[in-house]
Amino acid sequence: MAVREFAERGADLELVGIQKRFPGFTAIENLDLTIPAGSFFALLGPSGCGKTTTLRLVAGLEEPTQGRILIGGKDVTSTRSHERPVNTVFQSYALFPHMSIIENVAFGLKRRRIGDPLGKAHEALRLVELDHLAQRRPQQLSGGQQQRVALARAIVNRPALLLLDEPLGALDLKLRRQMQLELKTIQEEVGLTFLHVTHDQEEAMTMADTVAVMNKGAIEQMGAPAELYDLPKTAFVANFLGQSNLFSGEVAGSTDTAIAVDAGGARLVVPKARAHRHNGAVTVGVRPEKVSLHVEAPVPSSERNVLGPGRVLDVSFSGVSTQYLVDVPGHGTILVFAQNTGSGPSVGVGAEVWASWLVEHGFGLDDGAVEVERFAADDSTTSIAAQRRDDLVAELGEG
Amino acid sequence: AVKPTAAADGSATDKSLNWANWAAYIDEDDSGNYPTLQAFEEQTGIKVNYEVAVDDNNTYYGKVKDQLALGQDIGADTVCLTDWMVARWIRFGYTQELDHANIPNIANLSPALRDPDFDKGRAFSLPWQGGFAGICWNKEAFPDGLASVEDLWSSELKGRVGVLSEMRDTMGLIMLQNGVDIAGDWGDAEFDAAIDVLTEQVESGQVRNIKGNAYLEDLKSGDTLAAICWSGDITVINAEAGDKWEFAIPDAGGTLWNDNFLVPIGSTRKTNAETLMNYYYEPEVAAEVAAWVNYITPVVGAKEAAAAIDPELAENQLIFPNEETLSKAHIFRSLSGAEEQKYQAQFQSILLGA
């Protein structure tokens, strides 16, 4: 294979009108995506939504049914995997068990006949602080160390684009947090374009410059993490990225700056700038940490939306904060988080309370009225079970 | 069926020979060497690979028949098989015609054996040894000995009796016991009667071992205490494993047979084989073999040569039977193909315990 040096800095990635059909199943319907060079981009979504498929398409391990893939402006749609300037950190790391760490890291360089592969590999290992283990076999490393080797093996090639498929999925929470920090640091150091796939919203939000929330093969919303959290566009995003209290109703009035929604008898005001729709049936919401509880009816004010009275259904203490479930007739159950700062009222189950939030904290979705589900449907397990069953059926059928 | 054609002879350049034979059928010294063969090798420069490969005519034939049918080398340049089997080989064209010019000693062939009906003028075969089938027993267990085939059925011997898988010997002895002249004109009825006897003895467990030449192993291990045996073998195992056994021709008579050299169709060393045959037709050599194997030698003049070694040898009835001995031995009449198939199947079904 020709000697090709890849870009020292990342390259843009563009997916144009991508569709991917598997026999009997369309994994990706119509996907457009642009990732600017040098950014840390996170693709977030529930299990089975097509994240891995997207990555595999980019890596060239799968061919799109339709659409084009451009890396650094060059169409690579029909380029084969080993000819793309792209590297992947696999979920299982996929370190070659029959090679030492250093051989693993040097593998890609050797294939491309890059000069001094071992020197470069050692350098990459130094970057992930594992050079002292260069002669070991992957099995002799801990999970976290393996993960770093996988990273080094990919980075050493200076790919224009680095794909990470839930590289932290197999780690436990503590190690995961630690690795997140390291990953972020390394990305900043080497400046490559990272495309990181995860289903952990906290991970996506703390690490990425840009997050895209994917659902059923399409991207629902994309933007900076705080933006997405602050102003979700769909009920799916509102509940996949953290939790939300959502209320559906008709727009009952509007001013220059705000709309008022009649939801189950209460009047909820949302700033126009924070609402995706300004008339008809709409859904508005607020994050649980933005809601305050009052033991007495709050004085009506144009600055706050108030619901109540309601009754506290459940109080659960989780250390840092306390979660209240409040049943407000006509509005269902409202979730409220109160940090245990030691100030503020502390109410018990059965207490009569009012909930309120600042108008500026509300948001209006782009969806119309939605069947408000407090918790997102249990997609992940359902699909896992389905997948298992499919496997089983395939197995039986084949035997 | 098309008969295979004989392979070209390469003896001129290939000084080797493969000889397949039965167990305990050649002189052998304590270290396992064959003295007469060694002498032959020295004398002729032909290296002989002597293989004890024949346990039973049928099983040997079963092993090589496919190659024979294709005219291929069977791994033996000469084999010693019994008359009736030799007859089949000749009939199927599985043997090469002997060049008597290479076997001048054929003149020493006993006149009685010169014109068997399966090979007039000995064009294809030459006798190796002859012998009797009779009964034998473990002297330590039965000092009094056995006299007839009937004695094998005694309850004392239950489960410790062996008979030969050679149909003509086993059935021959039983038919003789039944008073049948096996050389004469007997038919299904006589055969069936003998089959019934054998079936009964096998089914009752009286007879446990039905073997080819491997019966010797059972005698040695003690699993068999009395059996239908071949005459010379007993001398050989007595020499090997201590003087424990004895052989006798039963009162009602035993069988008499010959095993014959032949050259299989695929052999490329016919001349070497003929040289070997010629060698063993030297009376002195024949006597030396006979002294060891105790079978009837077909070589005229061997008796005199034997007497020179040991006068007692010349009187050994197993080697040089006199008229009286010979009168107790009978030759099993030849069978047609159909008879062969039928009787063999009947006999085999006893071996298979149907």
């Binding site: - | 089949r88 410790r160 446990r208």
Partner: protein, 303 residues
Amino acid sequence: MAFAAFATAEAQPQAPRKSSRIALFLLLPGILYLVLFFLTPLVSLLLTSLQAPLEYGDIGQYQYAFNWQNYVDVMTAYWPHILRSFGYALAATVFALLFSYPLAYFIGVKARRWPLLQSLMLVLVIAPFFISFLLRTLAWKQILSDESFVITSLKALSLLGPDAHFTGTPFAVIFGLTYNFIPFMTLPLYTALERLDLRYLEAGSDLYANPFTVFRKITVPLSMPGIVAGTLLTFIPAAGDYVNASRDFLGGPDTQMMGNVIEANFLVLLNYPAAAALSIILMAAILVLVGVYVKRSGTEDLL
């Protein structure tokens, strides 16, 4: 398919691939080989089984015909051997199972704590493989011959009757089959038991099952794939074996099995159609038995 269950490693989900040209390239040589050297002979065996004797032919000469009668004939002549074969094979299988289960349990479960001991014992289980099975069988024949130390002692102790003997009896043949196929039984059992998750046993005991019930309701069903594999691996070759039952080894005239009959017809009686018909019957019977067995034991996915 079959026996894949013996695999020692867990299967990884495999990305199914398309390129059937590569598949063809990979499969073709091997499959052609099997077609040529397994399937074709099987078909000619079928044809041979329908041959009839050549008219006016000599011994061992046959011609192509459509002689179904051969099947009837061999069934009539040899039904006892067919029954005997399956009977002996069944008995050997049962004995081998009884012998092997505790052994495999010890190696696979109890010895988990000592991996070196475990592998040493496994080596010992397959040790018999390293010595030709003919020699092993002959060794038994000699160790248990009528005048052997074992048999004479047993007789002296009156544990055996005076004219009792071992070689040449059905017992000897079954003994030989059992001995020779013990590794075939032990190894699959070991594989299954070695993977047995002891937490199931603990869960059973936690749910009020006494040790015997735990064994019966949990250990045995969970090791079923091993039991099925082991019994098949023992039963199939045992039913077709002819060495143990051979008169030169441990058998006698009344212990001859299908294998011996087939051999005799092929090599001694030169009755090829009969031999072929018997072969086909043996194979068909085994396939049917295996099919039924596997179905009933609920381990179809083995096949």
